[in-house]
């Protein structure tokens, strides 16, 4: 198949030759590291607030985890927002990220975003996959110099002891073809599990980010499973209570997963969805056109309603994709159509006050 040829020799460049023999004398012979040498922790590095009652602790309760992250990022100056009130595939789609990442104005926000990935539904049978889940999203513009340290401190705040757990930043270049966006960063691993994505946005909606924003996305269910020590997402303790008072993730979401899986894969009305896609696309175009203040197209008055239609189109496309009614070649063209909307919305946003064009 069209996989690029592997250049088998490329890795060998890793061998760093001595330029001249002379330097060999420069390199002292060092003993091998003592692998069994244990590091003495200076203090407990898990920073869970000791004043919290057990049911509020981030390692005992799913909502406690969310509240701990809210408290942490609120303390760092973020506006703590509520989820966007539309169906989206990821926290990035929230206008607080997509649109606010564009333009020169500083911005710090944190929020939970319920995210829908219709294809990932497993009828509630898979312990790790959901078609509806929560992302915790943090966006900081411009990206602060100590963003990695802030992120690590947030892990401590939810109970991950950094002297006990192996946290790693592993290359992961992020790209969203539908949003016309890309950035460089990492997936953050905790003991081999990806718990977050960390991205320095370089481009959004086809525009260079100036300044660059830093985006952190925590997979809340995974993190909660990790800190609670639970193997199945439906077993997560949602409210931190025990006995009769305990509410699990399954109590809240299992039925929904079953119902939506049936809907996403078997029954979603594809004629309606195709029509909705067309409607959203044409409405977006209409609002974009009508939003320009005058013929000079220097100020836009309706960027956000237009962007809502772009979000709508993207979700409808995901549903159609899950129903398997979009062929491989069509798929690309749908993605391009959504991207065109996103780009036009980005251009409109840049011509608004929040996008950096003040009212005259």
């Amino acid at each position: 198949m069209g996989r690029a040829p592997q250049d088998d020799g490329a890795q060998d460049a890793a061998h760093l030759p001595w330029c001249h023999a002379g330097i060999a004398t420069l390199i002292p012979a060092l003993p091998r590291p003592r692998l069994r040498r244990l590091f003495q922790p200076t203090a407990g590095l898990s920073m869970i607030d000791p004043a919290l009652p057990p049911h509020m602790r981030p390692d005992k309760s799913f909502q406690g985890l969310i509240l701990a992250l809210h408290a942490f990022w609120a303390d760092k100056g973020c506006v703590v927002l509520q989820p966007y009130d539309m169906e989206v595939g990821a926290g990035t789609f929230h206008p607080a990220t997509t649109l606010r990442a564009l333009g020169p104005l500083p911005w710090k926000a944190a929020y939970v975003q319920p995210s829908r990935r219709p294809k990932d539904g497993r009828y509630g049978k898979n312990p790790n996959r959901l078609q509806h889940y929560y992302q915790y999203q943090v966006i900081l513009k411009p990206s602060p110099a100590d963003l990695q340290d802030l992120y690590l401190a947030s892990l401590s705040a939810i109970g991950i002891d950094l002297k006990l757990h192996d946290v790693r930043f592993v290359e992961d270049d992020w790209e969203s073809p539908t949003l016309g966006a890309w950035g460089l960063g990492w997936e953050c691993w905790c003991d081999g599990m990806e718990v977050s994505q960390f991205t320095y946005f370089q481009q959004v909606a086809g525009f260079e980010c100036a300044p660059v924003a830093g985006e952190l996305t925590y997979g809340l269910e995974r993190l909660a499973m990790y800190v609670q020590g639970v193997e199945n997402v439906y077993d997560l303790n949602f409210n931190g209570r025990e006995g009769d008072e305990k509410v699990t993730y399954g109590d809240v979401f299992l039925q929904a997963e079953e119902e939506y899986s049936r809907h996403n894969f078997e029954h979603a009305d594809t004629d309606m969805l195709f029509e909705q896609f067309r409607m959203a696309e044409s409405a977006a175009a209409k609002y974009l056109e009508a939003g320009w203040e005058d013929g000079s197209k220097s100020r836009h008055l309706m960027a956000q309603p237009a962007y809502d239609q772009c979000i709508k189109a993207s979700h409808v496309f995901n549903l159609l994709d899950a129903r398997g009614v979009i062929s491989v070649t069509e798929r690309q063209s749908y993605i391009l159509r959504v991207r065109e909307l996103a780009k036009a919305c980005g251009a409109a946003w840049l011509a608004t006050a929040a996008g950096g064009t003040p009212a005259v």
């Binding site: 040829p5 330029c19 192996d166 290359e171 660059v212």
Partner: protein, 687 residues
């Protein structure tokens, strides 16, 4: 002599870029030093996930002084010329120039310029910022407040600090002071992200290495690799197991840790129902862990080796437990995929499974995967007799070979494509040749990969590659320069190797257009050259018409090589070239091409008669030998021409005064050329 130490400390550098970056840093900085007259004794680059460093040993304290003489205009030249000279030489008055005289030119001005070399730190302070700004990262980024500027520094990830010191071993080195995008160079760095605190002040290389080692950073990549490999082997051995070595994985892991701590975890043995290759792919691709083999059975053990970046306060128990959880989840997925595929294959016919490929585009202009599979199957059937395979079986195998591409396991782990086909074919109890062909038909994947030898595998492997090549040739998507996105060179080399190593007689002209044929010829040349053959001999054979049977080409090249190593061969080559040279000149002069038509009546000298007789006698015999594909015999026959050719050139003057005689002799030379051309185009042979 002083040493230079440079460390660029940044957020985590992607593992795959580290080695290349270290080499680039070394080359860019040392080249720039040498270019400025600063010759050094040695240099070594270091790289970890968070730092890129360079030590240059034995640099002079300053650039050498330079002396330059610049000749100026003659004394008394117009003022404009004198002013221009002063400006170019950097002088303020003509008194600073001396006057010299020359018997031809008379008196003229000379400026003697003495330039003091600049202190090395000043030069370094100029070089390093430029290297940083233009560093060749495969992908780089902007960050932070500064990212609004169009000239913002780009780096692989945010650059956080720069250490740069210079000085002799015996003295306190100085900081080489410079600034890049607001970052000032200094003499401090930081240790391990979690195992050390605060900044570390560093003087020079030994100091840097030792202090970082104490701060839980092994700066030398090769040493990290050694530690990982040795500790992994030790841990395996202690359990009576064997490490499944994986150089690519080792490279990657060494770029993910500054302080490698090797640990062992385990998983439920029930997961070993899944094929070993899938278990390995799961653990390797997702978790970047090594797998272990039980030497008694040769199969995988339910253990894995993970490399952590942390000497944890609990000895690694939590880290192992965490990794085991993730691996359990991943293996559950893999097992689920495997079970699903088994069920699907048992309940859905191959025909129905293949139908799904109708919706998958292979290439926009080359139709769907289904169409492609059908083409390959038809071609495999045609090729089967050439490979000694049963045509029906080859067709069936070709239809089956790609069917694993839509399975769950291959969807998740593309690297086990083909192999899964064999597992599934075996489960379906198909003819073993079908499963084998599914596994082997992608082979060979490169110059060192194994070539399939089973007849059905050979037919399918050839058909797969030929279909790809002819398809992309038909839509004019040929490789250009370094661009070969469809790996067509590899496919063509695969065809060449399959044919040669299996000794197949395939007339490629039946399948490939002339341009593609010459692409095969190029691949063959590269292949033979790597095997030690002379490319000019390959050219000499390919210059003959109808050379599309690679096996015969190679046999002929080999026979030719042996012949040319003999005295007869060398001399005949020289004689033939001489004949061809004369012909080239005379044909140009006369405006005709000579071929045949020697008039025996005009053959006056005994040597030319002998030559003509030899050619006439040998010609048909050589032809017969060639028809029999007996190249040794053909060479032995052509060798008999050597003596008459030598004698001819010794005694006979080609450009005789009698025009009729001259033309006749040129025709005789043309006969020599023609006779040797039945063997190879001697004019293309070097020497």
């Amino acid at each position: 002599m002083p040493d230079l130490l440079l460390e660029l400390f940044c957020e985590e550098i992607p593992a795959r870029m580290q080695a290349g970056a270290a080499e680039s840093l070394r080359k860019l900085v040392t080249d720039a030093l040498v270019e400025r007259g600063l010759v050094y004794e040695g240099a070594k680059a270091f790289v970890t996930p968070r730092r890129l460093a360079l030590a240059v040993h034995g640099l002079p304290a300053q650039q050498p002084d330079t002396h330059e003489e610049r000749k100026g205009p003659r004394v008394g030249a117009p003022q404009g010329a004198i002013d221009g000279f002063l400006k170019a030489a950097g002088l303020t008055s003509i008194d600073q120039a001396s006057i010299e005289s020359d018997p031809k030119k008379g008196e003229f001005y000379v400026a003697r310029l003495h330039k003091h070399g600049r202190p090395t730190p000043d030069v370094v302070a100029e070089i390093v910022p430029a290297v940083i700004r233009a560093f060749p990262w495969p992908k780089s980024m902007r960050w932070g407040k500064g990212s609004t500027s169009p000239n913002a520094l780009r780096w692989v990830r945010p650059l956080q600090s720069i250490l740069c010191t210079f000085g002799p071993e015996t003295e306190e080195p100085e900081v080489v002071a410079f600034e890049v995008d607001g970052l000032r160079s200094g003499d401090t760095t930081r240790g391990h992200r979690f195992l050390s605190d605060g900044t570390i002040r560093v003087r020079r290389l030994e100091d840097w290495m030792a202090k970082l080692e104490a701060a839980f950073v092994v700066v030398d990549r090769e040493r990290r690799k050694d530690i990982i490999l040795n500790d992994a082997k030790d841990l395996a051995l202690a359990q009576g197991l064997e490490l499944v070595e994986d150089a690519g994985l080792l490279d990657e892991i060494s770029g993910l840790v500054e302080w490698p701590v090797v640990l062992m975890g385990s998983f439920d043995p029930a997961f070993l129902d899944v094929p070993d290759e899938v278990v390995r792919a799961t653990i390797r691709a997702n978790q970047k862990c090594f797998v272990l083999k039980d030497p008694a059975t040769g199969r995988l053990a339910n253990r894995f080796i993970l490399v952590s970046n942390l000497a944890a306060s609990d000895g690694g128990a939590a880290i192992i437990a965490g990794n085991e959880r993730v691996i359990r989840a991943r293996l559950s997925d893999a097992k689920f995929f495997w079970e699903t595929d088994k069920k699907t294959n048992a309940s859905v016919s191959l025909e129905d499974r293949l139908a799904k490929f109708g919706n998958v585009t292979f290439h926009e202009k080359l139709g769907s995967q289904l169409e492609r599979i059908r083409r390959i199957a038809a071609l495999a059937k045609t090729l089967a007799p050439l490979a000694g395979a049963d045509p029906e079986l080859a067709e069936q195998a070709a239809l089956y070979a790609k069917s694993d591409l839509r399975t769950e396991v291959v969807g998740e782990f593309p690297e086990v494509q083909g192999l899964m086909g064999r597992y599934y074919a075996d489960l379906e109890k198909l003819d073993p040749a079908i499963g084998l062909a599914a596994e082997e038909h992608y082979k060979p994947q490169g110059p060192t990969d194994r070539v399939p030898t089973a007849p059905v595998s050979v037919a399918v492997a050839l058909a797969d590659k030929l279909d790809t090549l002819t398809g992309f040739w038909a839509i004019d998507e040929k490789p250009t320069g370094s661009k070969d996105p469809y790996a067509l060179r590899r496919a063509a080399l695969g065809v060449v190797r399959i044919i040669l190593e299996n000794g197949l007689t395939v007339k490629l002209g039946d399948f490939a257009e002339p341009d593609l044929l010459s692409f095969f010829a190029d691949r063959l040349k590269v292949h033979l050259r790597e095997a030690g053959a002379r490319h000019d001999l390959v050219d000499a054979v390919f210059a003959l018409p109808g050379q599309d049977d690679l096996l015969l080409v190679v046999k002929r090249v080999e026979a030719l090589g042996r012949f040319l190593a003999t005295e007869d061969g060398k001399n005949l080559l020289a004689g033939t070239k001489r004949a061809a040279n004369i012909l080239r000149i005379e044909e140009k002069k006369d405006g005709v091409a000579y071929a045949g038509g020697v008039d025996v009546v005009l053959l006056h000298e005994p040597e030319e008669r002998a030559l003509a007789d030899s050619i006439a006698a040998l010609g048909p015999q050589i032809e017969q030998a060639l028809v029999r594909e007996d190249f040794e015999a053909a060479m032995a026959l052509i060798a008999q021409l050597r003596a008459p050719v030598d004698a001819f050139f010794e005694k006979v003057t080609v450009n005789a005064e009698d025009p009729a005689l001259r033309v006749n002799r040129l025709r005789l030379l043309a006969d020599i050329r023609a006779a040797t051309r039945s063997i190879a185009d001697f004019e293309r042979i070097e020497g």
